[in-house]
């Protein structure tokens, strides 16, 4: 289904905005229409952060996502805020190491990933976002893993490429 609307949310500094950017670049790689829109406002370091990404085979309307086909959350406030935004039958991905409550929805698919622990095993907690992104792409098939890796190579920092790649693959594996 080449039209998906995704919300990434967590704390500032977790790489929420970059997850969205890499996904958008992967969509561009596949010549789809893409948009990326950050929450902008009185945000500050350590505060909450989110972004909306739309990938579609038809022209994109508003870049702001309210009815998300998938939501990825990396903290409790984000779960509280965005759980209700997932469309019926949509996907919710949770970093279960950081979110200390169970989701309430029963009409959506939920994947809980201990992303912090997996990331630490690979080498750094900082790449937990990539673990979650790997799971999202595996589950939604919105872009291919190849395109995502290409986006990472072209637009990410070279010294982190191998580490990021490993994180994406471990996330994908977890979601399989």
């Amino acid at each position: 289904m080449p039209h998906q609307e995704i919300i990434f949310a967590g704390f500032g500094g977790q790489g929420i905005l970059s997850m969205g950017k890499f996904l958008a670049y992967a969509g561009l790689e596949e010549e789809l229409n893409v948009s990326w829109f950050p929450s902008y406002g009185p945000e500050m370091r350590g505060g909450t952060s989110n972004c909306s990404v739309i990938i579609s085979d038809s022209p994109i309307g508003a870049p702001i996502v309210t009815d998300a086909t998938a939501v990825v959350v990396m903290n409790r406030p984000s779960l509280d805020k965005f759980e209700s935004h997932v469309v019926k039958g949509g996907l919710l991905i949770i970093d279960s190491d950081l979110v200390n409550r169970e989701p309430e929805r029963t009409d959506i698919e939920i994947i809980k990933i201990p992303a912090q622990r997996i990331a630490e095993e690979i080498g750094s907690k900082k790449i937990a976002n990539m673990v979650l992104l790997g799971a999202l792409v595996e589950k939604t098939k919105i872009v291919s893993m190849e395109s995502l890796l290409k986006a990472l190579k072209e637009h990410g920092k070279e010294q982190f490429y191998e580490l990021n790649k490993k994180a994406l693959e471990r996330g994908a594996e977890y979601a399989r």
């Binding site: 950017k21 958008a24 561009l28 229409n33 893409v34 990326w36 950050p38 309307g61 508003a62 870049p63």
Partner: protein
């Protein structure tokens, strides 16, 4: 073909201005357009041009006045409250007939208002935020690509008519990233040489003076008449708009501009599935207003027109003037940073169409 890159609207404005040969940028930070200044602060020195953060918006627009008077391509940017501060300077620039580009990435008002997307500066932009009988060309792009194309066009139009030109977007357009391509572009316009510029004698016997002061009423009126002639010329030549889904007869026509027009297109597709036919007039120039678009589609419209805006009803006045009583005109708006959803628009249209059937 240049490769497509993902770029934030605000950064794309900066890059497009550099491509268009903008020599000076004078700015002052305000959300949601600060990235324009940040981008220019980094890029302008790299290409050997001038970036200067002014001490205020008032200072920035007067630096624009000075640079434009010296005959170089110059731009400034701000968001709503900042544009209010710049309005005095814009009036002076229009009075002195100087070319420049002013960007307004609109946020909700009045007053300090909020920082979320809005279209509540329509009156300010099109009816003159500053004083006096002046007009300014106002472009309202709806995508980052169109934004880039129009920034380049704006510099040409400014130079051709010696007039300030505004690019008006909203917080959504400024903040979003979309694929964009910077095309190698040659202007097709025959741009006049800037023989009026106050840039030294350069062999002339009398030095050029840039001024907007005319103390004799006869002279000021003559100046105004001359400006009006120029504005009439712009109205004749520079109107831009898009017609969407208007090949055949429709129940109703939405009039909407900027990013909101994209949301309206989504709503039109949803309504189509329910058998309701809706067209769209998307003004790309807000001034000069595309009145002729209404004449063009008038015979295809069953029920009337609806102006959909992110304010409490501003452009709807120009829609009414353009329709001139020939059909009913409806309005739907959200304000304060609230962005209408396609579903909301669908409901409003169904209400009108249902009520009429």
């Amino acid at each position: 073909m240049a490769k497509k890159v993902l770029m934030k609207g605000n950064e794309a404005i900066g890059e497009a201005a550099i491509h268009a040969g903008c020599q000076c940028f004078f700015g002052y930070p305000i959300t949601p357009q600060t990235e324009i200044a940040a981008y220019m602060a980094r890029r302008m020195p790299q290409v050997g041009r001038v970036f200067l953060q002014a001490e205020s918006e008032v200072a920035a627009i007067n630096m624009v006045y000075g640079a434009a008077g010296a005959g170089v391509r110059v731009m400034t940017s701000s968001s709503s409250p900042g544009i209010s501060l710049k309005s005095e300077g814009i009036s002076y620039i229009a009075g002195a007939e100087l070319p420049c580009v002013i960007v307004n990435i609109v946020r909700g008002g009045p007053g300090l208002g909020g920082i979320q997307p809005a279209q509540s500066d329509y009156f300010q932009a099109t009816k003159g935020g500053g004083h006096g009988d002046y007009r300014m060309v106002v472009y309202a792009p709806s995508s980052v690509q169109e934004l880039v194309d129009l920034v380049q066009e704006a510099f040409d139009v400014a130079d051709q008519y010696r007039n300030p030109v505004m690019i008006m977007g909203d917080g959504m357009l400024g903040q979003m990233m979309e694929p964009v391509e910077f095309k190698e572009r040659q202007t097709t316009r025959n741009l006049p040489e800037k023989t009026w510029a106050a840039n030294g004698l350069r062999g002339r016997k009398i030095h050029n003076v840039i001024n907007s002061l005319y103390l004799k009423p006869e002279e000021l009126e003559a100046h105004n008449k001359k400006l009006q002639q120029k504005y009439a010329e712009i109205e004749k030549n520079e109107v831009k708009y898009e017609l969407y889904n208007l090949e055949n007869e429709v129940d109703i026509v939405i009039v909407s501009y900027g990013t909101l027009a994209r949301i309206c297109k989504n709503a039109i597709k949803m309504l189509e599935k329910e058998g309701i036919k809706v067209g769209l007039i998307r003004p790309i120039t807000l001034w000069p207003y595309p009145k002729k678009a209404f004449d063009e589609v008038m015979d295809k419209v069953k029920l009337g027109f609806i102006s959909i805006e992110m304010n409490e009803g501003q452009m709807v006045e120009d829609v009414k003037l353009s329709v001139n009583g020939r059909k009913p005109v409806f309005f739907y708006g959200r304000s304060g940073g609230m962005v209408p959803t396609p579903a909301e628009i669908v409901n409003k249209i169904k209400e009108i169409v249902g009520g009429a059937k």
